[in-house]
């Protein structure tokens, strides 16, 4: 059955490939004539007004005709106007020297005040540079072009990330510009072994994608695998890192994320130090990290900045939160429908009294409230900010007061739904919270049909499913299962920094040693240090 589907998909993919760019059929290298070249550019870009062609003449008696081609908005306007055009037009010295022979080399050497200048002659290359924001200098009579790195243009300033907020920790977040993002990480790891490999993905969008890893820390096999999977991507567009994530993950049929994504440069730096590989995609502030393990989604960068005991307690809390958001409504349904005897008598009487007026079985009641809440939440996210507060007021009335007063749901149910909702907001990773949201409904169905037996079977199945997942070959539940004792210093518990001896073994390569021995801070060996300062009389006493 599955095999059959696979075959069909393959056929489709092949069909797409052949039809992609039927009209492109130009001569592959450029012409010597300037006007022909410019004609081709105009034709290929459909005379788009943002493609600027600035023709000018150089040399004695204006004998050398040249043209600068760039795209408005993609280039750094300042440098084009102030440096490039200025130096080409106003440099007297140059004007005299430029002749028909070898103007290109001369320009390259003497006239173009930019860091990255190369020559090219193939249209493919020229267009991709042009579209990336580089400026091209054509010279009449030369079948070669100067490509100048003038990439720039408007971009968002570095702001505090909105998705992973911390109380203590750096405030800078990634932006939509890939080069800014890479530099943000490089500023944190100043080491030549921090390697970046650029590539272009997306047949039409030609999106810049870069993988980053620390050469002697990352597992070579994982790096190779990431590279291979990225190279295999053959789609027309990549508009967000979510595209890449879904094209390179190990298993599609799961609600759990097998790649970690973050907006925080410090999170990326920390994960690189553990041996992971980062995947930057231009146009989005979300950077992917591979391989990801399940427990990672319950960790926040702040855990590493606060004290270890508090961080550990918080991690336990988050695991609890995850279970609450997963099975709280299901447990309520099971307890009220099947196992009333396990509720203490006093509580049972209270709950039963509340439920007496409610016309629905508790499963329908729970389903009603959960769906209402999901609708509210979705509305709250998608609506314009100004309307958002109105929704929260309406929501509070609908879920809280009115529904209970109208006798449609019981107050206990409202409490359960609210706790579940708060719990699902408190999960540090949105992508795990959202999958718990979906699975919660399955648990509710299981509880409604088979009570706690249904729930425990659901939990077993969920555990088995999680254990069967892998992320780039690393078992998803590691280092809990398979259990690796050394690496459990950073899972549910967060050991003090002096006890982080090793990097995660399954993730990083051979280089697992993280810190020197005897990192544990010690108080002064003898009390002399303290008493000496007293002797001098420089204390406040």
């Amino acid at each position: 059955m599955l095999g059959f589907f696979k075959k069909r998909q393959k056929k489709k993919a092949n069909g797409l490939n052949d039809k992609r760019h039927p009209e492109i059929d130009w001569l592959n290298t450029i012409d010597a004539s300037l006007s022909i070249n410019l004609e081709i550019i105009k034709e290929k870009t459909g005379n788009s007004p943002d493609v600027i062609i600035r023709e000018l003449s150089m040399g004695l008696n204006d004998s050398v005709r040249t043209a600068i081609v760039y795209i408005e908005g993609m280039v750094d306007d300042q440098s084009i106007k102030d440096f490039l055009i200025e130096s080409l037009m106003k440099n007297q010295n140059l004007q005299e020297k430029v002749t028909q022979q070898e103007p290109l080399g001369l320009l390259k050497k003497k006239a173009v005040p930019f860091g990255d200048v190369v020559t090219g002659r193939e249209w493919d290359q020229l267009f991709s540079s042009l579209m990336a924001g580089e400026a091209l200098i054509f010279i009449d009579g030369t079948a070669e072009v100067l490509i100048i790195d003038t990439r720039g243009g408007e971009k968002r300033a570095i702001e505090e990330p909105s998705s992973q907020v911390v109380v203590r920790g750096p405030r800078d977040g990634f932006t939509e510009d890939i080069r800014t993002n890479i530099s943000l990480v490089r500023r944190r790891i100043r080491n030549p072994s921090l390697w970046v490999e650029p590539m272009k993905i997306g047949q039409t969008t030609k999106t810049e994608v870069a993988i980053m890893y620390i050469n002697d820390v990352a597992n070579e096999k994982v790096v190779k695998e990431v590279r291979r999977r990225l190279k295999q991507i053959n789609v027309d567009s990549i508009l967000e890192s979510g595209y890449v994530e879904q094209l390179i993950e190990d298993q599609t049929f799961t609600t759990f994320p097998t790649l970690y994504h973050t907006e925080r440069p410090d999170a990326v730096a920390g994960n690189l130090m553990e041996g992971r590989v980062a995947i930057f995609v231009d146009g989005t502030p979300f950077v992917l990290l591979a391989p990801a393990v399940f427990i990672q989604f319950f960790q926040s960068v702040e855990d590493y900045y606060t004290r270890f005991d508090l961080a550990t307690a918080l991690r336990f809390l988050r695991i609890l939160i995850f279970f609450i958001s997963l099975i709280a409504p299901a447990a309520y349904v099971a307890a009220t429908t099947f196992h009333q005897e396990m509720i203490p008598t006093q509580l049972l009487i209270t709950v039963a009294a509340q439920r007496e007026a409610v016309p629905f079985p508790s499963f329908i009641e729970a389903l009603l409230m959960e769906i209402t809440f999901e609708i509210l939440r979705e509305a709250g996210i998608r609506m314009p900010r100004a309307v958002g507060s109105a929704i929260s007021i309406v929501g509070a009335i609908v879920i809280g007061q009115a529904a209970v007063q109208a006798g449609i749901v019981s107050p206990a149910m409202v409490i359960i739904v609210s706790i579940t909702a708060i719990a699902s907001f408190a999960t540090p990773s949105y992508s795990v919270a959202i999958s718990a949201r979906l699975i919660r409904f399955l648990f509710m169905v299981a509880a409604a049909t088979f009570g706690f037996y249904g729930i425990i079977l659901g939990i077993i199945m969920l555990t088995v499913h999680l254990c069967s997942l892998r992320s780039f070959g690393v078992p998803y539940m590691s280092p809990l299962a398979p259990f690796t004792l050394v690496n459990n210093s950073d899972t549910i518990i967060r050991a003090p920094w002096w006890a982080f001896w090793q990097r995660p073994r399954l993730i990083s390569g051979e280089n697992t040693v993280r810190e020197g021995s005897r990192q544990k801070p010690r108080p002064p060996m003898n009390r002399e240090m303290v008493s000496r300062s007293n002797e001098k009389g420089d204390s406040n006493e």
Binding site: F338, M342, F452, I456, L457, I460, C467, A481
Partner: protein, 366 residues
């Protein structure tokens, strides 16, 4: 044989879960009355001996499954037939355990739900797990083992706190002479649960460090024996001999007695569900053994697909092997040990071991 490796710790957890699986819920060795714990401990020692035998066989052929080395020892045709009978034996035990758990659930929580439905749900989860392979089974075991430990420790503390334990119920020790205890050991506890580790012969070849098998196996059997003995001792000291022997599921009855602070009571549901987890692993391990053995015996390329049909067979078996629970228990206590456990757990392995030993001797002689 699937390309998979399990670690020593994973094997330890699996053996432990397997041993505890259904033995925890049943009135184990109650024939020995208040000396049940002693019968269990003696069974454990014997079980350790039996496991050493399986381990020795495994050391002769560390890379291949028993279904394969049986053929090497006693010849192709005979070996295949014997291996096939072993698979039937495993399937039958799996069905028996499923019946135990199904009846427990029906009795304690779901009186109106048919046994078939209860078992069918469990089979779905078991098949799903076995389909994913032995590594996933082992990893899930590691995770859910934690849950079982937490619940077990909590249960123990609660029983202790609520002051139910009356040690005088365990006295006098050895009232009816040692022979009656030995009789229970030799007819019951030696085979169930300890001798059932024969199924691990099918899992040992997956171990990443084969030389650890002996130590890990003995450790797990020892720990499970101590746990089972103390659980049974607690049951008897809480309920007394007569109530324990009349209760179908004494552990749950004990848990039902817990009453702490007028809030924690009727906790049997939680314990029942935790026991379901242990039973789930026992059934999964048996089903996995059948699946991987069948695939090996009939040279089927994709073993995981076999989980569905064989799971269905076990489901139907579990409902049809006995017409009621009394009959089921009767079969389990009187017929199964003699006709199935003794030959499959002791006689045949001993015979195979002797032959294998002689064969290697002869090879060395040449």
């Amino acid at each position: 044989m699937e390309k998979a490796k399990i670690s020593a710790y994973q094997l330890f957890v699996l053996v432990l879960l397997f041993e505890l699986g259904s033995a925890l819920i049943l009135p184990l060795a109650i024939g020995a009355k208040q000396d049940a714990w002693l019968a269990i401990l003696l069974g454990m020692i014997g079980g350790g001996g039996i496991f050493l035998m399986y381990d020795r066989l495994f050391r002769f052929y560390p890379d291949i499954l028993p279904t394969e080395y049986v053929q090497k020892i006693i010849g192709k045709t005979l070996g295949r037939i014997l291996a096939f009978f072993y698979l039937l034996y495993f399937a039958y035990i799996a069905a028996r355990i499923m019946r135990d758990f199904g009846v427990m659930l029906v009795t304690f929580a779901y009186p109106d739900t048919p046994l078939f439905i209860i078992n069918a749900l469990l089979v779905i989860v078991v098949v799903y797990t076995v389909h994913k392979g032995v590594e996933v089974l082992a990893r899930s075991g590691e995770l859910l083992f934690v849950l079982i430990v937490v619940v077990a420790v909590a249960g123990f503390i609660l029983v202790l706190v609520s002051g139910l334990i009356d040690p005088s119920n365990l006295k006098p020790v050895l009232e009816e002479r040692i022979s009656s205890v030995l009789k229970v050991t030799l007819t019951e506890t030696l085979y169930f649960p300890f001798g059932e580790t024969v199924v691990f012969a099918m899992l040992l070849p997956y171990l990443n460090h084969p030389f650890k098998a002996r130590k890990i196996g003995l450790l797990a059997i020892g720990l499970s024996g101590v746990i089972l003995a103390s659980v049974m001792a607690i049951n008897i000291s809480v309920l007394g001999v007569s109530l324990t022997s009349r209760s179908q599921f004494p552990l749950l009855t004990t848990i039902q007695m817990i009453q702490v602070a007028e809030f924690l009571e009727r906790l049997d549901i939680f314990f029942m569900l935790t026991l379901v987890v242990a039973g789930f692993f026992k059934i999964s391990i048996l089903l996995y053994a059948v699946v991987t053995g069948t695939a090996n015996l009939f040279q089927i390329e994709n073993p995981s697909r076999l989980a569905y049909p064989i799971g269905l067979v076990i489901l139907i078996l579990s409902v049809t092997i006995a017409s009621n629970f009394a009959e089921h228990l009767q079969e389990g206590l009187q017929l199964v040990p003699v006709f199935l456990h003794i030959p499959f757990q002791i006689v045949i392995p001993l015979f195979l071991l002797t032959l294998a030993f002689l064969k290697t001797k002869r090879k060395q002689g040449q």
